[in-house]
Point group: C2
Chain length 166, copies 2
């Protein structure tokens, strides 16, 4: 039987956190559709972009930039490397680290995704009212900055963890 009465969602539709979540899930589903044929997921795309813009960067720095822990970045980079989109090369100045670079195929894939991304972004902007996109992005940046405020970046999580052990 159908649910004929609409469900009362109470304060949820007016909560920034709740609606951020619903919007993010919907937009990511849309992104995944756009990138499906290339089999590139949002996290993959972030890594490819950062490496393309910062060739030679090491894994820890890529992870920090994207909010991905270095231990979780390993299988992600493994996969991109196996697919021939990205290379781990020895870093010139630090024998512990890898210098990440895109392969030619990596650049090609990223180039093709660029058109799809632009098209999708235009659709999203039209949906919200194109003239409001800048305002939306500004607000999202301010909200994302909460993360920086609360846990001061004076110490890394690992440094804090080690300090706690003593």
């Amino acid at each position: 039987m159908d649910q004929m009465h609409p469900v009362d969602m109470g304060p949820l539709p007016d909560l920034i956190g709740y609606m951020l979540r619903r919007a993010q899930v919907a937009v990511f589903q849309d992104v995944n559709r756009c990138f499906a044929e290339a089999a590139i997921r949002p996290a993959d795309y972030g890594v490819l972009i950062v490496v393309s813009k910062n060739p030679g960067l090491n894994q820890t720095s890529v992870g920090d930039a994207l909010g991905i822990k270095r231990s979780n970045l390993v299988p992600l980079v493994d996969r991109l490397e196996r697919r021939g989109l990205l290379e781990r090369r020895p870093a010139a100045d630090d024998r512990r680290a890898y210098a990440l670079t895109l392969t030619e195929e990596g650049h090609n894939v990223l180039g093709r995704l660029d058109a799809k991304r632009a098209e999708q972004e235009a659709r999203l902007k039209q949906r919200i009212g194109a003239d409001r996109a800048d305002s939306l992005l500004d607000m999202l940046h301010r909200l994302a900055a909460i993360a920086d405020d609360e846990c001061l970046p004076s110490k890394t999580g690992e440094q804090i963890a080690r300090a706690r052990q003593r």
Copy 2:
């Protein structure tokens, strides 16, 4: 060694999808801090709100309202029931279904969380510029509505899955 050069994020900071994700993660971390002492997570909060506003609703309807599959709702409701916040009672008109209701303790917990939620929401609004909150929520609703557009609600996922098998 510190990363002295800022990492070039390319187009990511201008992408609605990317910034939605970063903002949502940051805001949820903040919510989790606010609700930590009650040990209530965002999904729990959604269930409690919907059940309090729609006493007697069954699990499938609660899940549909919140975008949670009914199979994933089971352990969530289990936990809330074990904690004495919520009750499964036999539905009057359908012996397959449960009528969900909050216990007195459930209402009490929700009441206490309400103050914290309002305080947190005020902080978020101040951060983005209080007069822009309505505009933000409107845009988030429009983006969340993508999900409804693309997969028409004329058939449920299960109906489609069954149809595909034939």
